[in-house]
Symmetry: C2
Subunit: 154 residues, 2 copies
C-alpha cells in the first residue's frame, strides 16, 4: 500500500469511520465477557464499491448491508485491528489517540489472569471518552459484578 493510500484511508477514517473497544457479554467465555476491538467504515450502499476497495487492501474483515441502505465494512479482532491501525497510524489525526489506545491491547495475554483481564477492561472504559455518542452497555463494573456472581477467585 502506498503512503498516499495510507494517508487517504486515515483521512477517510477520521471523517467517517469508527474505532471501538467494547466489552461484550458472552456465555462460555472464562470471564463472561469478550474484549472486542473493531474498526468500522460506513457508506451508502450506492458506494459499496468503496468499501470493497478498502477490504481488498486490508485483506480482512467483512462487509454487510443494512436495511437503511447503509453498508458497513467491519474489521474485528485484536490482532487484525492492531495490524490495520499500524498501517495508517502515522497519518491519523482526529482518531490518533484512540488508535494508540487500541494498540495497548496488543499486550494482553492469550489466557489472561483475572487481574490482567480487569486491567484491560478498564482500558476499554478509557476508550469511551474518545467516542461521542456510543451506545455502550458494558463497563468494568458489569464485569466485576459478573465475576463476583460466579465467585471466581483471582
Amino acid at each position: 500500500m502506498s503512503e498516499e493510500t495510507k494517508a487517504y484511508i486515515a483521512g477517510f477514517l477520521d471523517g467517517d469511520g469508527c474505532l471501538m473497544a467494547q466489552l461484550i457479554k458472552r456465555t462460555g467465555y472464562r470471564f463472561g465477557f469478550q474484549i472486542r476491538l473493531s474498526i468500522v467504515f460506513y457508506q451508502h450502499v450506492q458506494n459499496i464499491h468503496h468499501l470493497k476497495w478498502l477490504k481488498s487492501l486490508f485483506k480482512c474483515g467483512y462487509i454487510r448491508t443494512r436495511k437503511d441502505n447503509m453498508a458497513e465494512y467491519t474489521i474485528v479482532g485484536i490482532p487484525v485491528v492492531i495490524k490495520t491501525i499500524r498501517q495508517i497510524l502515522p497519518y491519523l489525526r482526529l482518531k490518533k489517540k484512540q488508535a494508540q489506545n487500541l494498540l495497548k491491547f496488543e499486550r494482553i495475554s492469550k489466557k489472561p489472569s483475572k487481574k490482567e483481564f480487569i486491567r484491560f477492561c478498564r482500558l476499554v472504559d478509557n476508550t469511551v471518552q474518545y467516542n461521542f455518542s456510543k451506545k455502550r452497555k458494558n463497563f468494568t463494573p458489569e464485569v466485576l459484578k459478573h465475576l463476583a456472581e460466579i465467585n471466581l477467585s483471582p
Copy 2:
C-alpha cells in the same frame, strides 16, 4: 503541502465533506441568480482545531460554529474552490466526478451572455445527482422563469 497531506484531506472530504454547486437568488445580480461553488468540512466543535488546521493549509474560507455544536469550514467562490480542488483531485475517490464537474466552472466568463449563463445553470443542475440529500431550491427552470419575468433578451 505534501502529497500525503493532500491524500489525507481527499480521504477526509470523501468521508465527511461536501462539494456543492448552487443557484442562489440575488437581487442586484444581472440574471437574478448567483452560481455558487463551495466546499464544506464538518466537525464537532470539540475538534474545531482540525478545521483550523485545514484553513491554515488552504489559506482561504471561513469557519463558523453552529448552535448544534457542529463547526463548519467553508470555502466559497469559483476561483478558490477550483484552486482547492486541484490540490486534492488526484487523491479523491468518492467525490472525484463531482470535483471534476466543479472544475468545468473555470471556463465561465466574467460577464457571461444570457445563453452562457443558462448553460452553466444546467451544469449546476447536473451536479445534483452526485449529492445524496441536498435541500436544493433553485434549478435552471427557476432561472429561466425569472429571466422571462424580467424580459431579458439574450
